[in-house]
Every structure is written in C-alpha cells, then in structure tokens.
C-alpha cells in the first residue's frame, strides 16, 4: 500500500471572542469557502470527519445538526470529540487505505456559547478529582508549568518570552483572536494573576471559530491542484489521564507521536530538516516543553532555543508564526488550524505572517486533554 495523500484546500473563519452567527452558519461558511477556494463541488467529497464536542455544543450527538452545513448530506460522515488534528488523522487513514478518495475535515467551537473552563472540569475523574474541586485546566496547566520550570531552572520571564513572540506574531495574522503588536515582557508579567505561575497572557484566549481542510489521494489531488501539500508522516500517542503519574516536566506522548511521524517521513534530524512548525500550546510554557519533546532541542534547552531567536518568525526554525494557540484557540479546531497554517506556509499563502525563505517541510501538532495528555503530529511537504 503506497497511496499518497495531499492537502488540496483549506479555509478558516476569522477567530474571534464572539462570532455573531449561528453555529450552523459558521460551519456552512467555512465549508463553502473551502470548496469554493479549492474549486471543488460538494459531490467530489466522499467522506466527512468533523471535530466537535457535545459538552461544548450543549447537545448530544452534536454532528446530527451539522450534516447539512458540512456538505455531508447522504455521505459517509462521522465526528471525533477531540482536537481537529485527530479528525484529520482519521480522514487521512480513510483516504490512505483506499476506502475513499476525497475527505473533508472540519473542527469548530464557540467559546461564547459554553460555560468557559467547565468542559475540562467535566472531563475530570468523577470519583476523586471532580468532587474534590481543586483541579481545572488552568490549575493543571500551572502544575505542569511549575514542574517544568522547577526541573530545568526556567524563570517566569523566560516562559513569558513565548507569549511575547506568539502574541506579537499574531499581529500578522488577520484570523487571530488575540494579537498584541509591539507586546513586551512587562505586558505579560503585568497581566492578571490566575494560577501561579500562569497569568492571563500565558493562557489561551476564549475563542469562537472554525477550520476546514480537504484531503485527496494522489491522482485526484493532482487533478484538483497544482500545489498539493503532501502528508509525509503522521504519529499519535496517548499518556495516562492521571497527572500524578505523568512526567509533567516533559511530554512523553508528544515525543512518541513525533518519533512515529519522523520515522514515517524519513526525518532523522528534525532541527535541521523542519523549516517551520505550528504547535498547539494552550499555555506559553507548553511551547518550550514541546520544543524538547519534538526533538528540536535537548531536554531543558527550550528557553535557550527561544532566546536564540531560532523560533522567531525570522529565525531558521520559526514556530507558530501564526501566533499559535495563544493567538486563537477555538477548541476542536486548534490542531486542525496548525495543519492548515503549516500548509499555508508551504504554499507561500500566509500573507503578512509568511516566513522568509522557502518552506519545504513543516510540522503541525494537535493535542487534547489536561496538560497535553494526547498528541498528534503531522509532517507536511511541498515538493513531490
């Protein structure tokens, strides 16, 4: 089996604190834009995989009402209650296997609709963590931050450097929900204290938004576009739920996912071979942890890599030139946005946040669960 699969189109809504639209119209518009910009009619789509979450939507089997808006009428259709990168992974598998030739992937949510931060509380172990009431996604992220900073002697200012880079980069991305042109360290360090060491600008913004992606097998892809972006490697791995059993100063499941994706793509030196990376950092410290788990630097060297400027938009390995999840985080779409942003960089379609120089190989990460419990890595390539 050697069926190559390519990204042949993508679309994003603007990501905003509040999109003035029904959910169905938000999904319809992003799907419509995807098909129109790819020059593909809905009849060419064989299967649809979406990422939505019943708790976020306030109704069970939430995809029952998005069959229409997703152009899935009378098609093979399903959803995952996880990050959109998982929807892309399963759509990829469907196309790669030969079951289908063309797959449409979408992820969406509206933070303006659900009670903020409660979804993660309702994900907690109902026999201990939830009734105790001490844990939520921000306090969990804070425990992760402290573990990492303590182990490697990283300061709050060093971690804040990620927010400075990403929120500054978001200024070049018109889709971003939160951008702060000219942001400095003092702005991050002076933002509202939530759970130490996390402050407001260390944490993702509540976001409404949707993202969509079109995948096709090789022959169909070449009919549809002269600029296919090939999926060269994928990997995924899940760690235990229990925070107290995990290595919170690293991200073992991301390291495992990256290993698998690198092996499949034939990458032996990710630092040298990857031209741009889009990672799913819900919090600023996670980006440093992810540098290390992805093998872009050694253990405990994340802050050094950031400070070297290598991961800045004009560095030799830009990470999150879009502003990342700190710039926009519509749950269930964020990892899919990473894939789309990576494909945009390869195609040279990223406009004001296009990185200088040719982007041949890009990495995209999606994650799920408290403290990045579950991870997906995609390796994308532009040339044949």
């Amino acid at each position: 089996m050697d069926r190559r699969v390519a990204v042949v189109g993508y679309a994003q809504t603007e990501h905003r604190p509040r999109i003035d639209s029904s959910r169905e119209m938000m999904v319809y518009r992003v799907t419509r834009e995807l098909l129109d910009s790819a020059g593909v009619t809905k009849d060419r789509v064989d299967t649809v995989v979406s990422a939505q979450n019943d708790f976020l939507e306030g109704r069970t089997i939430s995809n029952m009402r998005t069959v229409g808006p997703l152009a899935a009428f009378m098609k093979e259709e399903t959803k995952v209650e996880m990050d959109g990168a998982y929807a892309a992974l399963y759509a990829y598998a469907r196309v790669r296997s030969g079951l289908h030739d063309v797959a449409l992937v979408a992820g969406e949510s509206m933070a303006s609709c659900y009670p903020a931060y409660l979804p993660a509380v309702w994900a907690l172990d109902p026999t201990f963590d939830r009734p105790n009431g001490f844990l939520n996604e921000l306090s969990a992220g804070a425990l992760q931050a402290r573990s990492y900073m303590e182990r490697y002697g990283v300061s709050e200012e060093q971690v804040a450097g990620v927010s400075v880079k990403n929120l500054g980069s978001a200024a070049g991305n018109p889709k971003a929900c939160r951008s702060i042109p000219g942001i400095d360290l003092a702005a991050v360090m002076g933002s509202r204290a939530l759970y130490s060491p996390l402050r407001e600008l260390n944490c993702y913004p509540l976001t409404d938004g949707a993202c969509a992606l079109l995948l096709a097998e090789e022959k169909t892809a070449l009919e549809m576009t002269d600029r296919p972006v090939w999926i060269q490697g994928v990997g995924s791995s899940s760690d235990t739920y229990y925070l107290g059993e995990r290595n919170l100063s690293g991200c073992d499941s991301l390291a495992a996912a990256a290993d698998a994706a690198y092996r499949m793509a034939g990458i032996s030196d990710p630092r040298a071979e990857i031209d741009v990376a889009e990672v799913h950092e819900s919090f600023s410290h996670e980006e440093l942890i992810f540098y290390e788990a992805l093998g872009l630097c050694g253990e405990g060297e994340g802050a050094g890599l950031l400070e070297s400027g290598a991961t800045s938009p004009d560095g030799d390995l830009p990470v999150n030139p879009s502003g990342g999840a700190l710039g926009a985080n519509p749950l269930c779409a964020t990892g899919l946005i990473r894939i789309v942003e990576s494909a945009m960089q390869i195609r040279g379609d990223a406009g004001d946040h296009q990185v200088p120089g040719e982007v041949a190989t890009a990495l995209a990460q999606g994650q799920n669960g408290l403290c990045a419990q579950q991870n997906v890595v995609f390796i994308l390539r532009g040339q044949r």
Binding site: P115, S196, G244
Partner: protein, 153 residues
C-alpha cells in the same frame, strides 16, 4: 414558545443527575479516610503503589492485588497559588479574597502523586520538595472530605 420571538440567543440550562459507580478500589479508599488512613494499591508486576488506588495498572495491564497504607506524610511535587476560582455553573473566573494553594502531593510510600489543597501555609513559603502531612476532619464521615488538606511539616 413565544420566547422565540425577536430573540437572538437563548440561555439553555442542562440539568441532569448521573449515577456513577465509584468502584471497589475507590470505595475502600474513601472508607480508609474515615479511619485516617491513606490507602494505595500495589501492582503485582511493576510494584508501583498507585494512590488514589486503581484496579488496573495501565502500564502493565494487570489487576492490582495488594493494599498498602501510605502517608500521612508526603512531598510536594508541584504546586500553584490560585488567585481565582471557577465561577460555578456560569464558567469563567472570579477573584479570591484569600489565595488557595493547590499541590501535586506524593504520599510517603506511594509512586504517584495526587492533587489536593495545601493549607496552614503562607503561599510565599510553599515550594517543590516541601514536606507536608495530611490533616483530617475532626469527625470522619466516610467521605472524600475526611482528608481536609495537607499542611507543611
């Protein structure tokens, strides 16, 4: 139904009661709290002591078969000082008048940590590797709340 006239958004309450099976391990753990004992489960294969106890070791994929008393002393693995708390059913945050310290605490004799509150502590003094001890409710009722918090030693 008249509510739908000239309306852009509806507030929708979802109020539902679920019945969760606690499971034999957690049931025994909570009963142990009434006797001021912290109980963990040991994996027969990797020998790790898991607290709160789990019936299956994920790493070995075998059932745990031995009860081990751990604590009441423990070590802070990580911590956070919460200046806010969740604003109940509404979601979002509200400011706290008095910050609450939450920690990942590894009881002595256990191979895992769990999240609990660190009380009787100046938030500025709390640190990783700090030694703490369980503080129990005066009158145990056989509930999770019998373990009130951990205090610095």
């Amino acid at each position: 139904m008249t509510d739908l006239e000239n309306v852009r958004e509806l507030g929708i309450d979802i109020d539902a009661t679920y019945s969760w099976s606690v499971g034999a391990s957690m049931e025994r753990f909570v009963r142990g709290l009434a006797d001021r004992r912290l109980l963990g489960a040991r994996c027969p294969k990797c020998s790790r002591v898991l607290v709160p106890p789990r019936k299956v070791c994920e790493r070995c994929f075998v059932e745990t078969d031995e009860w081990v008393e751990v604590g009441p002393g423990g070590t802070v693995v990580s911590f956070t000082v919460g200046e806010v708390e969740l604003d109940g059913k509404a979601g979002g945050f509200k400011d706290l008048d008095v910050p609450v310290v939450t920690g990942l605490i590894k009881p002595d004799g256990a191979d895992t940590a769990f999240v609990h509150v660190i009380g009787e502590a100046d938030p500025r003094e709390v640190a990783c590797s700090m030694r703490v001890e369980a503080v129990w409710a005066d009158e145990a009722g056989g509930a999770l709340s019998d373990l009130r918090y951990f205090k610095p030693l």
